[in-house]
């Protein structure tokens, strides 16, 4: 049986036509008639289902190449990619489509209502030293090592044939996750801590109205995620020391002359009020201000066009902490990271645990409604369940994997 080859492909749109034919069968001579071969079996693949759909008229597939969004050959140069089956084609198209989300934002009009938020630059009060996780004390090393090993198992090599079925994804059960205690927290909580601390450390200047609005949207959506994942108590107690460092940094801002100084302090306070009940907050601020900048006031400030009930779009306004950026393969937000991770997990096989913690936090939020929310560390199970439905089901060669990664970079 012949392999399948893509006739036309719209990577960003997630649409493709493929035929069961000979490779490079797309050229014919103008000087002589094309060979009268039987018409090829042709399929169409598209979102949201990405199920191969048999079509009768090959002309429809070929004509797609006239539109600017479709490319007429995959790849542009070199041998055409051969797929052993129609489902393998569909998986390739699905992964390329998922990778496309990794290119959203970048300062333009993107998801989450306004593009990738930029961290303030040149602010003398933003601490220079990165707020790195205290790996061992958080008790996450073993868990993330397990996660990384599963990702590595999906890595590819030259010996892998395009369209080979991937090893089954083994959900990381609650048993594999470290228990929550006063000294150890789960990876989902750790991911949340990283992102929340990031917000505490980067309060926009009061004069930057647009940046303030984005910051408020980010804070609120992070808070909603923390509530949904029921990690509020972990954030308040277990991570207190960690977050308190960020609050301490942020509270230096009142030393600035008003109005920026006053605003920054208030903003930090509101954030801290949400997540902490520590002395930095209690001792520093008068009760009247404490009430004024209460949680309802912050919630009512969310007006950036995002729906509080949406889960995916706000992730494009969650900036990645600087200390994980070197491992993020070019992603600047959690939304971008998640898209690139799901499309090409093998490219993150050597990433440090900060990446995995943030991915697990985001994945747990997207799939939070699992049946067994009463079990310990259920958040980790929720993350695994969601990843199982989104991660690759087929393996491809390095050459093909590189093509998928390019979609995230260059769409």
């Amino acid at each position: 049986m012949s392999n399948w080859y893509i006739d036309t492909w719209d990577a960003r749109g997630g649409r493709a036509f493929a035929s069961q034919r000979k490779p490079d069968d797309y050229v014919i001579s103008s000087a002589s008639a094309p060979q009268a071969t039987p018409d090829d079996a042709t399929i169409f693949v598209g979102p949201p289902g990405f199920q191969p759909e048999l079509i009768v008229n090959t002309s429809v597939a070929l004509a797609a190449g006239r539109a600017g969004s479709f490319v007429p050959r995959v790849p542009a140069e070199g041998a055409e990619i051969a797929f052993p089956s129609a489902p393998a084609v569909a998986e390739f198209v699905r992964r390329g489509f998922s990778a496309g989300g990794g290119a959203r934002g970048g300062g333009g009009e993107g998801g989450g209502g306004g593009g990738v938020p930029r961290l303030p630059e040149g602010d003398p009060l933003v601490p220079i030293e990165p707020l790195t996780p205290e790996g061992g004390s958080l008790g996450l090393t073993d868990y993330c090592a397990l996660f990384a090993s599963q990702i590595s198992a999906r890595a590819v090599s030259d010996t892998v044939t395009d369209g080979q079925e991937a090893p089954q994804w083994v959900p990381t059960t609650g048993g594999a996750a470290p228990p929550c205690s006063s000294r150890t927290i789960g990876p989902v909580v750790a991911g949340a801590v990283r992102l929340i601390a990031q917000q505490l450390l980067h309060i926009p200047q009061a004069s930057a109205t647009q940046a303030i609005q984005k910051w408020a949207d980010t804070v609120v959506s992070l808070h909603v995620a923390a509530v949904e994942l029921e990690i509020w108590s972990s954030l308040q107690v277990t991570a207190e020391t960690y977050l308190a460092r960020a609050v301490a940094h942020g509270l230096r801002r009142p030393l600035l002359p008003p109005p920026d100084g006053a605003y920054a302090a208030a903003a930090v306070f509101r954030m801290a009020r949400m997540y902490l009940n520590n002395r930095h907050v209690r001792d520093y601020w008068p009760t009247v201000v404490y009430d004024h900048f209460s949680y309802p006031g912050l919630m009512s400030g969310a007006d950036g066009g995002s729906d509080l009930h949406d889960r995916f779009a706000p992730m494009y306004s969650w900036p990645l902490p600087p200390d994980v950026l070197p491992d993020a393969n070019g992603a600047a937000t959690v939304g971008q990271l998640l898209s690139r991770f799901v499309a090409s997990p093998a490219s993150f096989a050597k990433a440090r645990q900060g990446i995995f913690e943030i991915v697990l936090f985001a994945a747990a939020y997207l799939g939070s409604r699992i049946p067994d929310r009463a079990t310990p560390a259920w958040q980790t199970n929720a993350a695994s369940a969601w990843l199982t439905g989104s991660l690759p089901r087929w393996r491809f060669s390095q050459r093909t994997e590189a093509l998928i990664e390019q979609v995230a970079m260059h769409v």
Partner: protein
């Protein structure tokens, strides 16, 4: 006294019946009587004429008894694109770029092909068909933007979930009392089928046989074939639409409905191809249509997302793209409409 439908049919039959001639009488033909008349071939012809008129009315955006087009109705040129590309299309339109909608040549995708200038080298299939079209129309591939004819549906779904509907009406009213005007885009070339059909059986073999007999090259022979399918929108759309509907719904003593006509004009993979010699932007659109099936799928994904019920990333990405597309269109003052009943004009 009110005339019954049977009396009306009888009167129509009498009015249409051929007049007596002075020719010598031939063998007597038994005349149908009563309801038997309904099954005669002549009566079928009368129905066919009525149905032909119905096709013209649908193409002009009018109901059976209308004299003016209804808003949003009638044959339109449509282009389907994926929601992912709507944002950049709107941005190019807002910037006033000359080609907001882009074809393959605009994006310099020639790199995917070998050099067409060297006749000894093989051509891509698209280049070959473009050369055949150039032979048939005189228009060069880079100048052509390929669309489809649609009445009230959502276009060719394979190419994208957003159906961009041009506002131009290629077919004007036949009312002789109204001033004559050249319809917008009426000069566009129209093919009654996909031009790539020249590369598929049975046409491919027919062209091959012709070359064997008469010599010549495939692109020229294919171009001659395309000429047989070619017309212009203003002059030929009603004719080719009537022919297509006639094949799908053989002439019989039944009236075609507007919805049935609309569904046959663009049916699944089978559509009329339009060769528009210019690009377009958001200001050229009357609306963007999305299918009810896609809208339902999107709503289902949104529900699962908000409930945390594990919608996959590809589903979330698709929903996000569609939402961004709608917002971009709204900023450009282009309405987006869900088509709940293809073939009928109903807002969703």
């Amino acid at each position: 006294m009110r005339t019954s439908w049977l009396s009306w049919l009888r009167n129509r039959w009498i009015a249409w019946a051929p007049q007596k001639t002075t020719r010598a009488p031939t063998a007597p033909t038994p005349q149908p009587r009563g309801l038997d008349r309904l099954s005669t071939s002549e009566f079928d012809k009368e129905y066919h004429r009525a149905n032909e008129g119905a096709v013209a009315q649908v193409m002009r955006g009018m109901g059976p008894d209308d004299t003016d087009p209804k808003a949003g109705a009638g044959a339109r040129i449509v282009f389907n694109i994926a929601a992912a590309h709507v944002l950049s299309f709107c941005e190019r339109s807002a910037k006033g770029e000359p080609k907001p909608y882009q074809n393959a040549y605009d994006l310099h995708r020639q790199v995917y092909f070998v050099n067409a200038a060297d006749a000894t080298l093989p051509l891509s299939r698209r280049q070959l068909v473009d050369k055949a079209l150039e032979h048939a129309t005189g228009q060069k591939g880079p100048d052509i933007y390929f669309g489809a004819i649609e009445t009230s549906g959502t276009g060719v779904r394979f190419y994208g979930d957003m159906c961009l509907v041009l506002s131009a009406m290629p077919v004007l009213s036949s009312d002789s009392t109204k001033p004559t005007a050249v319809p917008s885009d009426g000069d566009c070339y129209l093919l009654d089928r996909n031009s790539y059909d020249v590369l598929r059986e049975p046409v491919k073999s027919a062209i091959t046989d012709e070359i064997s007999r008469s010599g010549g090259t495939f692109d020229v022979a294919a171009g001659e074939c395309l000429k047989q399918w070619l017309g212009t929108l203003a002059q030929d759309l009603v004719r080719v639409a009537t022919e297509k509907v006639s094949i799908a719904m053989p002439s019989s003593a039944r009236l075609w409905t507007g919805g049935a006509i609309a569904e046959v004009v663009l049916q699944d993979e089978d559509y009329f191809e339009v060769l528009r010699p210019r690009s377009f932007g958001t200001s050229d659109l009357v609306e963007v249509r999305v299918s009810a099936a896609d809208a339902a799928a999107e709503a289902d994904i949104a529900t699962r997302e908000r409930a945390g019920e594990a919608a996959g990333l590809h589903e979330l990405e698709w929903r996000q793209q569609r939402r961004e597309a709608r917002r971009a269109l709204a900023r450009a003052n282009v309405p987006t409409r869900v088509i709940t009943t293809p073939g009928r004009l109903k807002a969703g």
